[in-house]
């Protein structure tokens, strides 16, 4: 080995650092299963709720309980993905906190919305009894926009941080749908929520899963 081979120029050193950073960045491989699952669940919940309103029937349980049940498989997915990750990169920690923060915010949003409902509902009932018709203002018309607002944040930030365009556009789509749903009826709100879930999570999840499989196959071939 010659001396010139051992030593690196300043540019080479910087290139090496940049390459290692990119390598670490690329190692952020979510399997995509979590995104696929949540995209499907939110879309199904919204569409079932829409069907209940459109065809005037009621399921014996609230379909949104599915979102609570889905936390169990999500915990298993997270544990499995953590085991598979050999190195915890800078992005991993940041993303963990981002999605944890999102989960807490969703819980808070449910709490705030329920609290507003408990105050607003008696007022609405009293108004209907006195006026003979329901009030023009319906708080439930604002539930979908508030949730779509939250859906957009981690989706957009993940897409931007991991340079993963499908999620970046998905996040932006959530916000566009959020603005549209401010002015639309609850049925359209539910339809647009399902649409956002498919484009922000389900489709990016499928792409992530495909990339993950390809990367795994490539790695296996390289090791042969």
């Amino acid at each position: 080995m010659t001396q010139s081979e051992k030593q690196l120029t300043e540019k080479e050193s910087l290139d090496l650092i940049a390459m290692m950073i990119n390598k670490a960045k690329d190692s952020y491989h979510d399997t995509g299963i979590g995104a696929m699952m949540w995209g499907t669940i939110v879309a199904v919940c919204s569409l079932v709720k829409l069907a209940e309103l459109q065809f005037d029937f009621r399921l014996p349980f609230d379909i949104y309980w599915l979102t609570i049940l889905a936390i169990v498989p999500q915990i298993f997915i997270t544990i499995r993905e953590k085991k598979e990750r050999k190195v915890k990169t800078y992005d991993d920690i940041y993303m963990d906190y981002l999605w944890l923060g999102f989960g807490i915010s969703i819980g808070l949003m449910i709490f705030i919305v329920n609290n507003v409902f408990s105050v607003w509902e008696p007022v609405s009932i009293e108004y209907t009894q006195l006026a003979g018709h329901s009030p023009a203002f319906k708080f439930r018309e604002f539930i979908a926009p508030l949730f779509l607002l939250l859906y957009g944040i981690p989706t957009f930030v993940t897409g931007a941080a991991c340079k993963f365009k499908p999620m970046l556009w998905g996040g932006l789509l959530c916000w566009v749908c959020c603005i549209v749903t401010i002015y639309t009826t609850i049925k359209i709100d539910l339809l647009l929520t399902a649409f956002s879930a498919v484009f922000a999570w389900l489709i990016p999840g499928i792409i992530m899963e495909r990339d993950y499989r390809n990367a795994k196959r490539g790695l296996a071939q390289a090791n042969v």
């Binding site: 030593q7 940041y94 963990d96 923060g101 959020c178």
Partner: protein
Amino acid sequence: MQQENFSPEQSLRLIQSMISKTKQDMSDNSIYFLVWGWLTFFASTGQFILKHLLNYEKHYLVWMVVIIGIIFSIYQGKKEEKNSSVKTYVDESMGHLWLGLAISFFVLAMILTKLGWGTVAFPFFIMLYGLGTFVSGSIIRFRPLIIGGIIAWALAIGSTFVSYDYQMLFGAAAILISYIIPAYMLRSRNKTANT
């Protein structure tokens, strides 16, 4: 020629200096928290005084001070872009997060324009403040910001139990605990590290 070449030891030193630079950048972010923190603290308490104590009708106009924050952020961002040749991980991550949150604040403002500002505006805003500082704390590995974010979330819950006027004070408290205090702690940590 010899000077241009890096020995493994020198390369490591370069990496070390880059890490130090990143740490330095972490502390520089405190200026944004301080400017936005004091502006929103002033607006929240100012709105409470104007509405609750002085019964001034157009109490919400005090929020026009955010324009100062927007102008400052654009100016500061441009200045930093000019001065620094390397964009660090921290810069990039903070940029993505706060761009996402800025869009969210704008979209939330649109929702509240239709829903009505004088109803439940503050719990939603406090919740987003909490999300921003909680994740920022994880990016720069600074625990007071993470804790500040968690306290802001608790205040978001608490604010739903009080009237709109007192929600403003909850907003001011959230800003004080999650933005202003951690930002001063970040500054003092930086000063201690530099001495």
